[in-house]
């Protein structure tokens, strides 16, 4: 989503861009990266548009400012909405991708997208995620033609970043408001609260929507530490991919794929990975390789 439709004539002038995020901390809903760009010659006027850090503004004021900047021909914008399912999935992969990496990729994706639209970006201002020095090096390496300014609280220091924070925050709020739940169970209400783990409305929503088997609706970021406290009374789930990791240190383990709970579903859950691994023992390699064992007790 963004102002892609109109690639303005000023795009070939040197342009500045700000990038900011909304919804990094919340335990539910998407994380949104937003950017706002304009010709460098417009910078002064931009400062007069009273974009402040979106967190200090009331929701109605943010909505109003978003409409103003959308209507402004000298400003372009774009967003990257990262689904909570994607955040959970990436953070729970066997080789985990952490939130900083996801954030960096999203920001770099926006830079890439705006460049590909033909906008001549010369300076990009961005709120830091992780160490500012390292982040700047990473960005400069990927986009050598751009000067990056990576700073803490960039959203309150640079109007172009404040503008980006409005784009991001308004997009996240709307996404939450219009969220279409994957789950079709009855009685899922939409009073999610802000999504911050400390918000009483969010806490109560999580308490009322936990499910002993499925955990939560997929709106929730399962990879957040907050979630585990709600899972205590739920059914325990043991993952093959976690057992693989556990077994990785075993000296007799010569391949990740050996430790499978499968055996066409008849294996009992209590078996340790070593026992599962040895189940094909004494049989021909044909059976061992396919995890087929004799079933003597039913």
């Amino acid at each position: 989503m963004g102002s892609e439709a109109m690639v303005s004539e000023w795009a070939s002038e040197p342009c500045i861009m700000g990038i900011d995020e909304a919804g990094r901390g919340p335990v539910l809903g998407p994380m949104v990266y937003g950017c706002l760009y304009c010709p460098r010659s417009y910078q002064k006027t931009l400062s007069s548009l009273s974009f402040a850090d979106s967190k200090t503004l009331k929701e109605e004021k943010r909505e109003e400012l978003f409409e103003t900047l959308k209507a402004n021909d000298s400003i372009g914008w774009a967003v990257d909405v990262i689904d909570p399912k994607e955040l959970s999935a990436k953070m729970l992969k066997k080789s985990k991708i952490n939130l900083n990496e996801i954030s960096h990729d999203s920001a770099m994706g926006l830079v890439d997208r705006v460049l590909k639209m033909g906008v001549l970006l010369t300076e990009v201002y961005i709120d830091t995620v992780g160490d500012p020095g390292k982040y700047e090096m990473k960005l400069s390496k990927k986009f050598p033609s751009i000067k990056f300014v990576v700073a803490k609280k960039a959203d309150s220091l640079y109007p172009v970043v404040s503008g980006a924070s409005i784009v991001a925050k308004v997009t996240r709020d709307r996404a939450i408001r219009e969220w279409v739940l994957d789950e079709t169970a009855d009685n899922i209400d939409r009073n999610f609260g802000s999504g911050y783990p400390g918000d009483p409305t969010t806490k109560s929503w999580l308490e009322h929507h936990k499910h002993s088997i499925f955990g939560f609706p997929t709106l929730v970021r399962f990879s957040w530490g907050t979630c585990s406290s709600y899972f205590k009374d739920g059914a325990e789930v043991l993952w093959e991919s976690d057992l693989d990791e556990e077994g990785g240190s075993n000296s007799n383990n010569n391949g990740k794929r050996q430790l499978k709970l499968r055996n066409v579903g008849f294996t009992t859950s209590k078996r340790r990975s070593e026992e599962i691994e040895s189940s094909g023992k004494g049989r021909s390699r044909f059976f061992q390789a396919r995890k087929l064992e004799h079933l003597t007790n039913f």
Binding site: L92, F214, T218, R221, V237, E240, S241, L292, F298
Partner: protein
């Protein structure tokens, strides 16, 4: 028949619920035994992508935050899947008997991997090779076949 560990299994297919399309094999063990709202929470979607080389139509779904990739395999011709349940004992002497009856049947199974796309190299698909091998091992050999495959010792 009911001696040392033997089980009696009643494989009736008539008038049993057909669960084809609803049997999932997940790459995890859920420590729960009983009904739950699967169709409300577990929502497989075809990805429109077909596995490289082997042409398996892929699906994706999420469980407990993890991305699962799966594919539906029809059971081989001549085979059926059965969901068995222990027979409720009719009298005292039946109490210790190991008797099972069919609660439902199925003709396909969807299996799911965490972190990698299903392929013909997966153990689960490879396990079905046994059926072909078993068939070859157990089919009678005709004199003609014997002759054509004769070899010198």
């Amino acid at each position: 028949m009911e001696k040392g560990g033997a089980a009696r299994i009643d494989l009736k297919r008539e008038a049993r619920e057909d669960l084809s399309g609803h049997v999932h094999l997940l790459p995890c063990c859920i420590k729960h035994d009983g009904p739950t709202q699967v169709s409300h929470y577990f929502k497989p979607k075809p990805t429109g992508v077909v596995g490289e080389e082997d042409g398996l139509p892929l699906q994706q779904s999420h469980f407990r935050g993890r991305l699962l990739q799966g594919t539906t395999l029809p059971l081989p011709h001549g085979y059926s899947g059965f969901v068995l349940g222990k027979k409720t004992p009719r009298n005292k002497s039946d109490e210790n008997s190991n008797s099972w009856e069919t609660n439902a049947t199925f003709q396909d199974i969807t299996y799911w991997n965490h972190d990698y796309a299903p392929s013909q190299n997966d153990d689960f698909i490879r396990a079905f090779h046994w059926l072909t091998v078993a068939n070859a091992l157990h089919s009678p050999v005709t004199p003609e076949e014997l002759e054509s495959s004769s070899f010198t010792l």
